[in-house]
Subunit: 295 residues, 2 copies
């Protein structure tokens, strides 16, 4: 297939490269100059604009940061207008389900199909073609996109026939991730205040029912003064923001997501927005002080 | 060793049996008549009261439901007074750290040693001698109790030299468990409202960063109308109650534990206190309604 690709960031660049290696034609654009150098060396094409990346493509993959950026590429920068009738837009960004549905409707009115297909698996999954892709949209469109989806994703889930469902699945994963990181911080903060050895606490939870994937990954970094940034506090301000914005649209109370959001917001407000998201524990230390006398 | 054992419930009965099988002398008491029958058949002794279970014992194991029950056995029913000087009390109940410390102080004043040693691992771990035991207390006392601890626990963690630290570790695990169950309910509730297939959602989270041990265990049961009761909603009203009571003693804000507690309280108030704790999702359904229109 001829694939237009917009967004050659830490995840997008290796993904586009994998598409070239799999034999697809790729014309890619990124706002940063030189982002496509590796791709061109591998046989891909560097497009001078988002519209030129889209022109004539069978499928346009949007690997941008947000739904707003996706809309800008499609409707402000002329990406949608440059696509041939019947082409597929894959919105792989993390966005609110309501926004994914709105974009799908606008594209449908232009004769274009959209798959709502956010991904997870990070830079590692992107590089090895082992992403999890949560796809929703017309089943015929899903089938047509399969040759591309199968190159990038190890696990491609069909979440349903309507735009919005893929983004809902991703949003639910982010809800759990955000709550679990904040819960790990709350737990490790109680431990450090009480004088329980952090390493003993990590060892106990690793074999207990209180374990989570995020606890195992983030709690050790909570005990470091200034750990390397795997993913920043402000990423969860964004992702829990999507959860709560969608909850607002739907008029749903989500008490745990809301409580977790307050801690990420506070951590960011205290100046730690660019720190590793494990450092949400600093908001707990600000809130409760440290060390504490024991009762 | 000669072991006094109080509390032959679903966990206590197989634990006492394992001590007999390992060659320890066991004199056991439970308020329910006949609770010691299996133990007696295996060579143990049924004591007619808590005080008689304690009389002359090297170690008194308290496998009761709460710190209040432990205090009642020790100080109201004469358990502590019946122990010889220097004997060890093992408080294996789940209780607030502050209460564990208070009981240890009272026992010390009577010339008795205490280990604060809550357990996890459930009925299965109790039956197979594979419990996790979080022990704190004087290191010499821990060493003296080792022949008993090693029979009952597969993983015996030394959490520190002071009473209260073992209970803190257990409490932190319960904090994480309670928050993770409520988070799983919040997540599955968003999925069911949005029209995402519950099975697809379970499959996605199973391979995603949002996974937790509790999600894997409880979320499938959330999708059942009336699942068998593995552990009741009211158990988390108790356990998160301990977390928040200790937080109150320590003057610590614990936003996620507090939010999760509200959902367990609401579920219990709606009449589901004896239901499986996965049914905390019913509080979300009451709060937000179901099904919802999608936006």
């Amino acid at each position: 297939m001829l694939v237009g690709f917009v967004g050659l960031g830490a995840m997008g660049a290796p993904m586009a490269l994998n598409l070239v290696k799999a034999g697809h034609g790729v014309q890619a654009f990124d706002v940063r100059a030189g982002a496509a150098n590796d791709l061109v060396a591998a046989g891909g094409h560097a497009a001078p604009s988002a519209a030129e990346a889209a022109r004539g493509a069978d499928l346009l993959w949007l690997m941008v940061v947000s739904g707003d950026q996706a809309e800008a590429v499609l409707f402000d920068a002329g990406g949608a207008a440059a696509l041939p009738a019947g082409a597929i837009v894959v919105a792989a960004c993390t966005q609110a389900p309501a926004q994914a549905r709105r974009t799908a409707d606008r594209l449908a009115a232009m004769g274009l199909a959209m798959l709502d297909a956010p991904v997870s698996g990070g830079i590692k999954g992107a590089a090895s073609g082992a992403l999890t892709i949560m796809v929703s949209g017309d089943r015929g469109t899903q089938a047509r996109a399969k040759p591309v989806l199968d190159v990038l994703g190890k696990r491609v889930f069909d979440v349903g026939a309507e735009a919005g469902l893929g983004s809902t699945a991703k949003m639910i994963n982010q809800l759990l991730c955000g709550v679990h990181i904040a819960a790990a911080a709350e737990a490790m903060h109680v431990a450090e205040c009480a004088g329980v050895s952090p390493q003993t606490m990590l060892d106990i939870i690793a074999v207990s029912a209180g374990h989570s994937w995020m606890f195992g990954d983030r709690a050790p970094r909570m005990m470091q003064a200034d750990p390397p940034v795997a993913s920043a506090v402000d990423i969860f301000v964004k992702d829990l923001g999507i959860v709560l914005e969608q909850g607002k649209v739907n008029r749903q109370g989500l008490p745990l997501a809301a409580a977790a959001m307050q801690m990420f917001l506070a951590a960011s407000g205290l100046g730690h927005g660019k720190a590793d998201d494990s450092q949400v524990i600093r908001a707990y230390r600000a809130l409760n002080g440290l060390p504490r006398s024991k009762a």
